[in-house]
């Protein structure tokens, strides 16, 4: 999410074909949910699809706005629920997570990466400098005699020195552990919230693998 400079236009700001107003009106009446994958593997997002038939049950009451499963690239209006996969590993993750916090009533950390940093946070034990040398300087496939190049550019975000769980950056309301939590667990949480019940994840549904 680089800052917009002069003459820079994002595709989602351009004129798009409008939705059929009656279809859009039906969606607007539903509970609005936004989804984001930060530093994760997309597994928790796909575990959302692992709800199987219950996905269709949920979609009767829920509209999905921003998500990597739609082509909506920013949260278009206030949402009731923000579904967050992955931890925070770069400046873009920070901006996106803060934007979710400002625009969602309830934010849920879904999966080990969002809850604790997960496997990507294993890099917190390693010196950054060593990692850098390993990947781009000492890589066994590096091009011999080529100019040593390390990615750094206005169009790619700067990374953070450590990987953080989401709640160390913004307030998170609920947490679903698991790598990933399975479809039934995700459905239980969303179904409860959508139907006005309290968040209630029984210990029997907590997973740590």
């Amino acid at each position: 999410m680089s800052t917009t400079t002069k003459n820079e236009v994002a595709s989602h700001e351009l004129k798009a074909t409008p939705m059929d107003p009656s279809v859009q009106a039906a969606r607007d009446e539903k509970i609005q949910v936004a989804m984001i994958g930060l530093c994760g593997c997309w597994g928790c997002t796909l575990s959302f699809l692992d709800m199987d038939e219950n996905l269709l049950v949920l979609l009767e009451k829920v509209n999905i706005t921003r998500s990597s499963l739609t082509d909506i690239k920013r949260i278009p209006h206030r949402c009731a629920i923000g579904f967050v996969e992955g931890g925070v590993a770069n400046e873009e993750n920070i901006e996106t997570l803060e934007h979710f916090r400002e625009n969602c009533d309830v934010l849920i950390s879904v999966g080990a990466c969002a809850v604790w940093g997960g496997v990507p946070a294993m890099r917190n034990d390693v010196s950054l400098e060593d990692c850098l040398k390993e990947a781009y300087i000492a890589s066994p496939t590096a091009v011999p005699q080529a100019k040593l190049t390390i990615p750094y550019h206005e169009d790619i975000p700067r990374i953070t020195t450590k990987v953080y769980p989401c709640h160390e950056v913004v307030k998170m309301d609920y947490f679903i552990p698991g790598c990933p939590p399975d479809g039934a667990t995700i459905f239980k949480v969303l179904d409860d919230l959508v139907n006005g019940r309290e968040f209630d994840l029984p210990a029997s549904m907590n997973r740590y693998d």
Partner: protein
């Protein structure tokens, strides 16, 4: 006035990508790029861990092709403990077949997700349909029966994976030298015959055929647009068996040109002799190429389109896919197919191929045998291993070394999406020139055409960001109370 157009983020793909297009005063495209904007660092932080953890940790690279990473790691470990394929003492048939079952199911599930959830809505509604519509929500509104079948198909693939690996994602089955579980007759029959809420294999094959027909019908109606969309010449690479046909689990790496002449062929253990990877400042994803040919001529395409280009014919034991592939080959009269959107055609064929392969394999009694792990003899430990598979997105390679105590000292991963980096960037450029070049007014739908080109590769941008980059860091992290957590200026 010159302009910069940005797609941020690229959606309906896995992981984090961004596109930039620069237009000059006369609206000519001067530059167009796909940037991969995340990185993680698996190759470094897996070091020091016990070698047998690698397939468990490294499958967390990707939530859609985790089985491929798990098996690629397992194959590298087979090598390391001295029972790799080709070593003379090899893993047992039951182990290989159980792994293959999981692998084919992964292909079916991954391709079905990419094809039906991300590509089909665009075929049915159009590239410039409202962004809110051209997705699974739009499909639910337009054709709920189709969505029910798609959900059931994906579910079946995931249930096969769960049967093999214990859970639908990031499970465990492969261990060095074999697997830790076979397939019982009850499990087999459930997958073959289905049950309440689970398809039978014959229904799966039927739905896969229906999926392929969606492409055929779409192609019939939009032939010119589909065929002329980003025709991007490239070499094609796939793992092949001794007959020169794709083997998703094992084989030698073969690379062919437009005329299907073999330009390179190698044992994957020798990959370092053949491949280099260039780095650019503007992306965390590297650019692999064949050393002999250089970067411009030696970049390869991998994945469904490459595999069907390389493959001569599928086996008679998968007759529906065999016929579908013949029709595909006839279309370009024996030449390699470079039409980007035909990748979706190839993907739909591979869904059918995987379903037929699974049906054949499920009937194999070796799956029920209980000799699961080949124990290496004294002194077989080699301390080094290379694994390779055809992952859904193309040729995937893991290479590890470990010390005598068994801790990992080195890991290198060359993933499919990275192999496609140059070809994807050529596609972005080609679509940008065709759809944006010379246009004063640019719409969202025109920009989406670029994403349609990228989605054809079904890139896994998380997979491509296993390596860590160096960069000047001036990032501050504040917690929810506004307290500074991290700040660093390098």
């Amino acid at each position: 006035m010159s302009r910069k157009l940005v797609i941020d983020p690229v959606t309906k793909v896995e992981g984090h990508g961004k596109v930039t297009v620069h237009l000059d005063d006369n609206n000519r495209v001067v530059d167009a790029k796909l940037h991969v904007v995340e990185f993680r660092g698996f190759e470094k932080f897996v070091q020091g861990h016990p070698f047998w953890e690698a397939p468990m940790l490294l499958q967390r690279i990707c939530g859609i092709c985790f089985v491929s990473h798990h098996l690629c790691g397992a194959k590298a470990l087979d090598d390391m403990v001295g029972v790799g394929l080709g070593s003379g003492i090899e893993i047992l048939p039951t182990a290989e077949k159980v792994r293959r079952l999981g692998h084919y199911a992964q292909q079916l599930q991954s391709h079905s997700t990419a094809y039906f959830y991300c590509v089909v809505p665009e075929m049915l509604f159009g590239m410039d349909a409202p962004p809110e519509q051209r997705n699974i929500l739009g499909l639910v509104e337009a054709d709920p029966e189709l969505v029910k079948r798609v959900v059931a198909l994906r579910k079946w693939g995931q249930e096969v994976i769960k049967t093999v690996f214990g859970k639908r994602m990031h499970g465990i089955n492969s261990v060095p030298g074999g697997v830790n579980k076979n397939i019982s007759t009850t499990e087999r029959d459930r997958l073959l015959n289905g049950e309440d809420g689970l398809l039978s294999i014959d229904k799966v094959i039927k739905y896969a055929q229906d999926g392929l027909n969606i492409f055929h019908e779409f192609h019939e109606k939009n032939r010119k647009e589909v065929d002329s969309f980003a025709e991007v010449p490239a070499l094609n690479m796939s793992l092949v068996d001794d007959d020169g046909n794709v083997d998703y689990y094992h084989g030698k790496m073969r690379i062919i040109d437009k005329d299907k002449t073999i330009v390179a062929e190698m044992d994957y253990h020798d990959y370092l002799d053949h491949f280099s990877e260039a780095t650019e400042e503007w992306s965390y994803m590297k650019f692999p190429f064949l050393k002999d040919l250089g970067r411009e001529a030696g970049s390869v395409r991998v994945g469904p389109l490459a595999r069907v280009n390389v493959t001569k014919a599928y086996s008679a034991s998968t007759p529906l896919a065999k016929a579908a592939l013949e029709r595909f080959h006839d279309y370009t009269k024996g030449k390699a197919n470079d039409m980007t959107l035909h990748t979706n055609w190839a993907r739909a064929i591979e869904i059918l191929h995987s379903a037929e392969l699974i049906k054949e394999l499920l009937k194999d009694p070796d799956l029920q045998k209980d000799q699961l792990v080949m124990s290496p003899p004294e002194g077989a430990w080699t301390g080094e291993g290379v694994g390779v598979v055809e992952a859904p997105r193309g040729t995937l390679l893991h290479h590890y070394r470990a010390c005598e105590e068994g801790n990992i000292t080195f890991a290198n991963l060359v993933v499919a999406t990275t192999q496609n980096n140059t070809v994807m960037n050529r596609t972005v450029r080609s679509v940008a020139e065709d759809y944006l070049g010379g246009k004063a007014e640019i719409t969202e739908g025109m920009m989406n055409a670029i994403e349609v080109g990228i989605r054809a590769y079904d890139p896994c941008l998380s997979c491509a960001t296993h390596a860590m980059g160096q960069m000047p860091l001036v990032v501050s992290v504040f917690d929810s109370e506004g307290v500074l957590v991290d700040e660093r200026v390098r």
